[in-house]
Symmetry: C2
Subunit: 684 residues, 2 copies
Amino acid sequence: MSNLIPDLKSGPLDFYRKKASFDWKKLKVFIETEDIVKYQNDLYSVIRDHPDYKVDKTVLSTFDGQRRVATVQAMAQKSMDQLALLNTIHNLKMPPTATRIMMQVSPSATIKYVVGDRLFSSAIMNMGTKRHMKFISDMEEGKIFGCYALTEIAHGSNVRNMRCTATYDKQKKVFVLNTPDFEAAKCWAGGLGQLATHAVIYAMLVIDGHNYGLHSFVVPVRNPKTLLPHPGVIVGDMGEKIGLNGIDNGFIQFENYEIPKENLLNKLGDVTDDGKYTTPFKDPNKRHGAALGSLSAGRVTIAVICETMGVKALTIAIRYAGVRRQFGPDGKTEVPIMEYQTHQHRLLPFLAATYIIRNFNTYLSEVFYQFSIDRMMGIESEDGPEKGMEIHALSSASKPVVGWTMRDAIQECRETCGGHGYLKASGIGDIRNDHDANLTYEGENHVLIQQCSNYLLKLWPHVLKRQTISSPLHSIDFLTHGLDILAKKFNARSTQEICCPNTIIEIYQWLVTYLLKISHEKLENQLKSGKLQFWAKNDTQVYYAKSLAVAYIQHFYLQRMLLLISESPDEAVRNVLTRMFSLYGLWSLEKHISTLYRGQYAVGPELPELVHEAILKLCADLKDDSVSLIDSIAPPDFILDSVLGASDGMVYKRLEKSIKGSEYGMNRPRWWQDVVKFDLKNKL
Amino acid sequence: MSNLIPDLKSGPLDFYRKKASFDWKKLKVFIETEDIVKYQNDLYSVIRDHPDYKVDKTVLSTFDGQRRVATVQAMAQKSMDQLALLNTIHNLKMPPTATRIMMQVSPSATIKYVVGDRLFSSAIMNMGTKRHMKFISDMEEGKIFGCYALTEIAHGSNVRNMRCTATYDKQKKVFVLNTPDFEAAKCWAGGLGQLATHAVIYAMLVIDGHNYGLHSFVVPVRNPKTLLPHPGVIVGDMGEKIGLNGIDNGFIQFENYEIPKENLLNKLGDVTDDGKYTTPFKDPNKRHGAALGSLSAGRVTIAVICETMGVKALTIAIRYAGVRRQFGPDGKTEVPIMEYQTHQHRLLPFLAATYIIRNFNTYLSEVFYQFSIDRMMGIESEDGPEKGMEIHALSSASKPVVGWTMRDAIQECRETCGGHGYLKASGIGDIRNDHDANLTYEGENHVLIQQCSNYLLKLWPHVLKRQTISSPLHSIDFLTHGLDILAKKFNARSTQEICCPNTIIEIYQWLVTYLLKISHEKLENQLKSGKLQFWAKNDTQVYYAKSLAVAYIQHFYLQRMLLLISESPDEAVRNVLTRMFSLYGLWSLEKHISTLYRGQYAVGPELPELVHEAILKLCADLKDDSVSLIDSIAPPDFILDSVLGASDGMVYKRLEKSIKGSEYGMNRPRWWQDVVKFDLKNKL
C-alpha cells in the first residue's frame, strides 16, 4: 500500500496523525478502490509534469493572464489520454475522479473545457444527426472551438419565454437568426466571450409566422482564421466576474444572420425544404424536455465540483487547526485549536458531510453515466423511464443541497483559519469565489429543487392507499410503509441510542413522510381555497416542499452511506465511518427539530438535549481522527497550493516565504515620492 | 422634505414604490433625524465633487492601482472637515453616519485611514503622556504616517503569549527591540506594509531579565524622506488578500533595534532612568486590560461597518428582485421575482435584521462615544465602571452576531441575483470579499463572544436569590424576575398573537434566562466532575454559553427597536417597523425552537407551525414595502455603483453598457494568433 500511496512528511501534524484510530491509507483504498488510486496517481503525475500546468503565479495576477492560462490548459486537457471519454467509461468511477482532480487543479480551465467543447459535442450527439458529426471531428482536431448558448439576459430559468428567433426562409433554404434586443441576447456561454468559432444556439423556430418552440442550431459565430465575428453577429465577453475569470463567458446577438438549413440539430424536430415542420414527438412538452436533456449531466457534475471545492477548503482548515496553537490550561503550553469544542463543532460536521456526500456523488455519477451510455447504445431497460425520473429528482435536490452545504463549509473553513485565512495565499478566497458560481448556474437552486418535490408530491396518494412504492434506485421504497412510519414516535433515551444508524434512519423516514404529508395537504388546501395552481405551488415551498426535498436527499445520502460502511472489511474503518454517519445525520436533523415537534414525533423535552450532547460527543470522538480523515481525501500539496494546508504542517515557514517573497513584500510602491511630498498643511 | 431628500427616478421600480404602505422619506427622516440627513447630504456632495474620489475604474483593476487609490483617498479623508473628530462630537449620531458613508464609498481607504493614523493617535492619547503629543501633531500635519501593531504571526487572540521584546538598556537609556523569529513578527498592521513611518508597537517590557508584560511604544520604522526602513527593522507587506487590497497590511521584525526610552507610552507603566518599573495599577491584569482598551472602539465601529455592507448588498438584491421578472401564472405575463414566497423568505428577514441592528448600532455608538468623551474629560459617573462592563459585553456579542448576520445576508443577496449577481459589475462580490475581514479581525468571534457570556454567567447567583439586577443600559434588568420568567409557558394561539411584540419579547426573556440557567449548571457540573476551569469553560460553549450570548444580544436589539417604534409620530411608519420587528424576532427565534422545547417552555405541537406561518405572512405583508424600505437606507447610486441595484431600476440598460463597454468586451485577446495556430493533431 505504501507504494500506491506515498507517506506524508513528518511534522507538527504528527500530533494528531499518531492518535488516529484507523489507517488512513486503508480508508483511502476502501473509499476509492485500488484502481482509482492508481488512476489518481497517473493523472497527478501527468499534471505535475505537464509544461502547461507549470504556471508562473505573476501571470495569474492579471485578468488577461488568467484567460491565457485557462485557454492553454483547457487545450491541454483535450490531449490528455486520461481524460478522453473512451478511456474512462470502462470504469465509471473514473469520470467523477477526473472531475475532482481537474477541478482542484484549475477550475477555470476545466470548466472551460467541459462547458465549451464537451457540452458543444454532447449537445450535437444528443440532438443532431449524421450530418452534424463533422462539427465534432473539426472540434476534436482543434480546427474550430465550440460552445453552448441557452440562457438569455432576461430569461434564465424560464426557458419557454426565450426570444431569440430562427425563422425559416424557404427561398434561400436558410434560417435567419434574430435577437430582438439586448434582453434577448444569449449570455453566460462559457468559451463564447473571446474564442468560440461555433455555438450551439437555442432559438424559437419560426415558419410562416408560427412559433414551433425552442430548437437548437449549430451556428458559426467567428472566423476560425481571424477570430473576428461574422457579419450579422454581435459577440463579446461578459466582463470580470467574482471568480472563474479564466473562462471567457460570452454574450451574442444576431441581426438577420443566415445559417444553412442543415445546421438545425434535427433529431428532435426538423423542417422540410418547403417549410413543413416534423417531429417524432407527439407531445411538445416531451420534445422540449428532450431538447434540454443535456443539462442533467451538468447537475450531476456540479455536485461533484461542489464537493471537491469543499474538500480543498477542509484540507486547509483542518490541517491548520492541527498546527495552530492558542491558549492552554496553564497559560503557557498552548493546545492546537482543534482541541476546542467550538472549533470541532464548526469543522467536523462539514467533514462528515463531505464524506457522506462524496460517496453519494460517486454512486450517482456511476448510475448516471451507465444510464446515459445504455441510452446512447439503444439499451433501454424496462425501468429506464422511471430511473430517468429518479435520477432527475435526486440530482435536482442534490445539486442545491451539496452547493449550500459546501458553501457553508468553505465559509466556516475561511473563518476558522482566522486572519491568515484572509490571505490570498491561504487559497480559501479563490475556492469560495470559484465555488460561488455553482450556486446559481445550471438551474437556480430554489427553482431546481422543485423538480424533486414535484416528483415526491405525486407519491402521497399511493402512500395513503398503502400501495407498494418502489423505484429503481430505491430512494422512495420506504414510503410503502408511510402510514406505519407516521404512527411511530421518538423513543431513544440515551446519546448512545440516538447515535445508532438505525435510529437516525428511522427519524429521517418519519421526517420525509411527514413533510410529504403536510406539503401535499398544504397544496391541496390552497387549491381548494381558490388559488391558481401556479400560486398554490409557489406558496407551498418554504417550510414545506423545499424542506421535503432537502430531507429526502439527506435521507438518501445516509442510506447510501450505510451500504458503503457495511462493505468495509476493516473494523477501524467501519467505526470511524459510522461516527461520521451519525454526526452528519444528527447535525442535519438538528435543523428539522421543530418539524419533529410539530408532527408530534417528539413529545417530551428529551430530544434536543440528546441530539446536542450526541453531536458534541461525536465531535470530541472524531477530533483525533480529523487530520487522518482529511489526509485520505486531500489532494497532493502541489495541487492544494495553500500556505496553511500543506501536508507537512509547516505553516509558519510557508507563511514567511510567501509574505517575504511576494512582489510587494519588501518594496516601496513606485509612487512613493508622491506620498513623501504629501503635505496636509499645504493642501489645506 | 423633498428639498432635503431628492425624489427617485421613475422606472420599473414604480411597480412596488406605488404600493408602499408608508412614505419612505418620512421613515428616513424619522430613523436618521433631520440634522443627520443634512449631514449625509453634505458628505455626499463633498465626495461627489472630490477629485480624489473620481476614479478611473481601470486603475482599480490592478493591485498597485488599488493601493494608490486607497492611499490618496485615505489622505483626502484627513482633510475633510466633515470627518474631523471635533466637528462630529457635538452630535454623536454623526460618527456612525460618517463610518457608514465612507465605508460604502471606499472600504480600503476608510479602513486605512481609521486603523492607520486614527488608531495610532488614539493609542497615543490613551496610553501616552504629554511628551508623545508631537507624534500626533506630526501625523496630523502629514509629516509622518502612523499605524498600530499588536498581533503576531503565531499569536492573535492570546496576547499574553506574545514574544516581541523591548529590553531596557540602562547605560544607553534606550529600549532594544527584538523579534525572536518570524512567528513573533508583528503582522496585519494596516498601513504598515508599504508606507508607515511610525508604529505603536506592543512588546514585552523586560528589565534586568524580568518580564513586566505587554507595553506599547512609539517606534520609528521608516525614514519619512525615503520610506526606506531604518537599520534593524525588517518591514514589509503581507501580500494579496481576499479583499480590502487597497490597505497595505504589514509585518515587522526587529533586530537589536534601539528606540529612545521616551518612546515608551508611559501612562499605564513607566521605567525610571536607572531601570525601576513603576505603574499606577496594583493589579497587573487591570493594566493589561487598560493597554488593550483602545480595541473596544474597534468592535463598536466594526458592527457599523458590517451593517453598512449588508445595506449595500440588500439594496442591490431587493431592487433587482423588484425589476427582474420570471415566470407567471398564465405562462406569458411574468411577475417580479419578489412575488415568490421563497424569494421573500430569503431576503426580507435580512432586511428586517438590518433595520433592527442599524438602530442598535446608532444607539451603542452614541453611548460609547459619550462614555469615552466623559472618561477623557475626567467625568467619571457613579455607574461608569458598570457601564463600561455592559458596553464591553454588548459590543463583544454584537460584533460577532452582526458580522454573521450580514455575512449571510450578503451571500443570500448574491444568490438571489442569480447569474448576473456573479458579475463583478453587480458589486456583490466585492462587498462580500471586503466584509469577510470583519469576521476574523479585532477579536476572533468565538473567543470574543465569551466576553459577553462570562459577564452574564456571573449574574445567575443573583437571579437565584431574586436580587434586583439592574445595569446602566438596562440590558439585563429583566433578570431580576428571572425565576418568575422561567415559570412561564408559551401560550400564543394564533399567528396574530405570536406576531405581537410583547409576546416575542416574553419568549426571548424566557430564552435568555433559561440559557443562563443551563449554561451555569453545565459549567458547575463540569467543574464538579473535576475538569480544570479552562476546559470546563471551553466545553460549555456550543449550545450553551454561545447561544446565551446570541439570545441576549438579539433580545436587546429588539428591546431597543421597540423603544424606537414607540417614538414615531407616524402610524404608517410605526406599522411597517412593527412588522419588521416581528419578522426579525420570530425569524431569529426560529433557530432557538429546540431550546424552547428542551426547557418545556413549549409543550404541545403548536409553536413551530405558528412561527412558520407568521414568518411567511409577515414576508408577504412586507413585500410591497420592501423597495421603499430599502430606499430609506440605501446609499445614492454613485456610491452604490451596481448595474443591478441603481434606484431607477434600469437593470438591463446598465448591464448592456457595462458588458459592451468592458475592456475585454468586444476584442480578441492579444494572443489570439496562438489560439488560431493551435492544432491538436500536430500536437499529438
